[in-house]
Symmetry: D2
Amino acid sequence: MPAPAMNADEIAKLLHEVFPQAFYPGCGLTLERVEYANIRVRRHFHDDYIRPGGTISGPTMMELADFAMYVAVFSAVGPQPLAVTTNLNINFLRKPAQSDLIADARLMKVGKRLAVGEVTIYSEGLPDPVAHVTSTYSIP
Amino acid sequence: MPAPAMNADEIAKLLHEVFPQAFYPGCGLTLERVEYANIRVRRHFHDDYIRPGGTISGPTMMELADFAMYVAVFSAVGPQPLAVTTNLNINFLRKPAQSDLIADARLMKVGKRLAVGEVTIYSEGLPDPVAHVTSTYSIP
Amino acid sequence: MPAPAMNADEIAKLLHEVFPQAFYPGCGLTLERVEYANIRVRRHFHDDYIRPGGTISGPTMMELADFAMYVAVFSAVGPQPLAVTTNLNINFLRKPAQSDLIADARLMKVGKRLAVGEVTIYSEGLPDPVAHVTSTYSIP
Amino acid sequence: MPAPAMNADEIAKLLHEVFPQAFYPGCGLTLERVEYANIRVRRHFHDDYIRPGGTISGPTMMELADFAMYVAVFSAVGPQPLAVTTNLNINFLRKPAQSDLIADARLMKVGKRLAVGEVTIYSEGLPDPVAHVTSTYSIP
C-alpha cells in the first residue's frame, strides 16, 4: 500500500483553511486514522443529533459519511478541496446508541476523475454497524 | 387523490413538538405545499451551508431531502414521528446557487410498512434540478 | 426541447450493429418513443422472466432499465455505443403482472462526461409503477 | 459465527426446484462457498455476456449480484424462496476481463423482515473489484 498523499495533520490543516464551517476547534470531528485510501473519523456525541425515538438522526450519519469520504479522497489524491460528491447511497442498519460515531472509509477505486468508496459507521464500542454508505466523488 | 392525512399547520406543530432540534422558529425550513404524498419544502439560504467552491454543501441537501420525505410520509400516513429512513440515494446534478433550495417530494409507494419516494431539489428560480433523491422510510 | 440526436430507427439500427446479443429480431424489446432525453421501451412478456412467487424477476427489470437509459443517452448525445453505466440504483415497488413491461426513461442531466436519468417501469395497463431506477452513464 | 441455515447442496437443490429458469445444469452458476451470511458464487464466462467495448455487460453483473444476495439470504434464514429484492445499488468500478466473474456476498444485517448485504464482484484472478453492490431483501 502506498503512503497516504497527506497525513492527518496536513488534512486537518487543509480542512480548517478551506471548510471552516465544517471543521473547526470544537466541531466534534476527529481524524483518528489516515492511511492511503483508508481512514477513520470519530464524531463526538452531541444532544443536537438526537431525533424522535431517542436515536441519532440520519442526516448526522450522512454528513459524517460524506466528510469521511472527503478525507479519504485527500488521503489518496492529495489536496483537492474542490472534489465534490456526485452520488451517495446509505443504508441504515440499526438504531445507533447515544454515543460517539466511528466512520471507517475505504476507497475501492481511485481514478483520475472519480473516486468510489464505502463507509461503515459504528456506535463506539459496539460490533455491528449502524449504517453503510457507498459514494462517488468527482475529482476536478 | 385523497386529502392529506395532515395539513401543513398540523405537520409543523407535530415537528415542533417531537423534533425541536430540527424544526423551530428561525430554523429556515418552510412547508410550502402539503398535498397527499406530495409536498414542497423551502430551505432558506444561510452562509453556513457554503462549502469549498462557493456552493451549497452536499449534507445540506441530504438533510433537506430527508426532511422532505419525513413530511411527505406524514402527509400520507398521518402522525408517525417514529418513521425512520432505511435507504437514501442522492445524485448531485448541478452546482446550486447561493440561494434558497426548494425540495419537491413525492411518494411512489405508500405501503403498510414502507414508503418509497423521490425528492427533486432546485435552486430557487432556476429550472434545472440540482439534486435528485430516492428514499425509503420504514413505518412502525 | 431540442430534437433527438437520433430517431428510433437510427437507434434500432445502431443497437443491432453494435450489440446484437441484446437487440435482434425477436429479442422482445421495442422502442416505442424516442424524444430528446425522453424515451419509452417495451419489454414483451416471456415465461423465462418469471421468478418464484409468479412474478417477473428483478434482473429482468434491471436489464430493461439499463437498456432504456442506453437508448436515452443515444437520444441526447447521438451514437456513443461505448457509453457505460457507472451507477444504477433500483427500488422495487410492487409485484409486476405477468404482462409486458413499459420503461419510461428521462435524463435529468446531460453533461459532457456524465448523463444522469431516471427510469420508471410499469406493468402494461396498470397505473402504479412496479420499479423506479436512477442511473448514471459515463460518456467516452 | 453460527452454522449456515442451509449448505451449498441444499441451496442448489432448492434453487433447482423453485427457480429452474435461473438455476439448472449448465446455467453457468456455481456455489463455491456457503457460510452463514457469507457466500461466493462463480459465473462462468460466456460470449453472450459481452457488450460493446469487449467487456461484460452491466446486467450480467447485476443479475449475478442479485443471485448472490438470494443465496446469502438462504444461508442465513433458510429456505425462503419468496424473499424479494426491494433495493439494489451498483457501482461499476473497472472494465471486467473476458473471464469468469466471482461474487462475494456478505450480509450486514439479518433482521426478521429485511436482510441488507453487500456484494463485491471480481474478474477471476484479478485483485481489484469490477463492481460493488449493496442490496436489501424483504423476507416474507
